[in-house]
């Protein structure tokens, strides 16, 4: 394609939109709404996922064994636990290890440690179990309870928070997709109408183009460009507004609820938007192209 041809398409695309300003603005708003919802749900879901990942690293499941246990029993239990599906790692922790760890965490000089040593150690033998993902927790717990020598009293896990996060994440994911689809369809419908009006505005021109031998694609391109312009502007506006909004929200959160920062970290603005920005642009262009192509098929009999 000649540069002059591309310039011509762009010029015609923009002028088509200018002559049809009201519909153009409506289309852009529809696309922007759709992309805002997409970006917002992505921010929420990806942050929840991020938090769950952090917790998965730290939480896991602990199994405490009562009384004295022989090393054979320990080996046998370890093997049985390892064989449970979704269990990625099982570590045996001896009472001595636990005591060392507590001393590390709390400081060895604390009063509570007086009189405690390897000979006189009230802590239990235990297993630290790591899972592939938080969602597997229920299944693993059930399997654990079925093992001889382990019952509900022996098992500890980070229950409520993780289940809640999974639920919130699912709700946002599903609601986000549904709202996005609805807005996407509405956007496409409005774009179809916008391009239709553009086609009608230019029917004399199209007629002449056909007589002088313009190809079908030459006639179609300016309308596809119109769709792409709508999609791009509709994507750029919410992205540019969303970026500082996200950064601001996160910093406000850290400032006003500082203790939260100790156990919850949000994803970095740069990380989130290095995905959101290109995804928004691509999705905007997609909406524009789908809308204009549909309209051309229905309304431009070249």
């Amino acid at each position: 394609m000649r540069p002059s041809t591309i310039r011509y398409f762009l010029k015609e695309g923009f002028s088509g939109l200018r002559k049809n300003l009201l519909m153009t603005v409506a289309s852009i708003i529809a696309v922007a709404a759709c992309i805002s919802i997409m970006s917002f749900s992505y921010c929420v879901v990806s942050n929840l996922q991020y938090m769950m990942d952090q917790m998965e690293d730290s939480i896991g499941i602990s199994v405490f064994l009562e009384g004295d246990v022989t090393s054979e029993e320990i080996e046998s239990l370890k093997t049985q636990i390892s064989q449970i599906e979704h269990v990625t790692n099982v570590t045996y922790v001896s009472p001595a290890d636990s005591l060392d760890k507590l001393k590390d965490e709390w400081g060895a000089d604390e009063d509570i440690f007086i009189g405690l040593d390897d000979e006189n150690n009230p802590l239990s033998h235990s297993f630290q179990i790591e899972l592939d993902q938080i969602e597997s927790q229920d299944a693993v717990l059930t399997a654990l309870h079925n093992i001889e020598g382990i019952n509900e009293d022996n098992v500890e896990y980070g229950q409520s928070v993780s289940e809640l996060l999974v639920k919130i994440s699912n709700v946002f994911q599903i609601a986000g997709i549904i709202v996005m689809l609805i807005l996407g369809v509405i956007s496409v419908m409005i774009i179809v109408n916008t391009i239709r009006i553009s086609v009608v505005n230019r029917r004399v021109e199209i007629n002449i183009m056909k007589y002088v031998g313009a190809t079908d694609w030459f006639i179609r391109w300016p309308f596809i460009i119109e769709g792409i312009i709508i999609g791009l502007i509709g994507a750029i506006i919410p992205s540019l507004l969303g970026l500082p909004l996200y950064a601001k929200t996160v910093s406000l959160f850290y400032n006003y609820v500082p203790f939260v920062a100790n156990f919850i970290r949000f994803r970095l603005t740069g990380d989130v938007f290095s995905f959101v920005l290109p995804a928004a642009l691509l999705f905007g262009i997609l909406l524009g192209v789908v809308g204009s192509v549909t309209s051309i098929r229905k309304h431009l009999q070249v």
């Binding site: 394609m1 000649r2 002059s4 041809t5 011509y8 004399v204 021109e205 007629n207 002449i208 183009m209 056909k210 007589y211 002088v212 031998g213 313009a214 190809t215 079908d216 030459f218």
Partner: protein, 228 residues
Amino acid sequence: MIRLQNVTKVYPNGSRGVEGLNLHIKKGDFVFIVGSSGSGKSTLIKLLLKELDPTSGEIIINRVKTNDLSRKQIPYLRRNLGVVFQDFRLLPNKTVYENVAFAMRVIEAPSRIIRRNVPAVLSLVGLGQKGRSYPNQLSGGEQQRTALARAIVNNPPILICDEPTGNLDPETAWGIMQLLDDINKRGTTIVMATHARDIVDAMQKRVVTLNKGHIIRDIEKGGYDDEA
């Protein structure tokens, strides 16, 4: 250059546009298609432009059987056919220059060639000074000259005109006819549908007469009512 073999066009509503046309137009010919209103002149023109497909029969243009052309190939057929209508069909928001350049732009001619050919063809049709005017600032004759410039700017071997003088007063019409004669003398084949008796009589060219969709007369050189 153009050949019609037993061409019939019946419109979807059943009305007969043309029937059983046999016609051969040679390179460099100047042919009038005459006949009263409704005799099928425009139908014949539209068949030549492949705006309509014949119900039966064959149309051959430039050795190509246009019946067989796919949609994708039609634009390339049309680049061989300049076309002028009674109602000019200029773009009101473009200047004379832009209206003519438009025909070159849409077939992706290089800008350099556009800048060279448009002024040349504008002076050929006598509009050398009117490039910056808009159609509504021009007389009817000047508008038709602009349309003519647009039709020939890509140098098509065939020029097709449907009642090009229909909206013009006799004097202006005559100016357009001289221009068409000039273009024909430069080698362009011209097919012109008209029911302007005076013009046909004065030009003394080939005359094909249609009546109710049939060719009833085809004379090599003559007037509107001359016998074959």
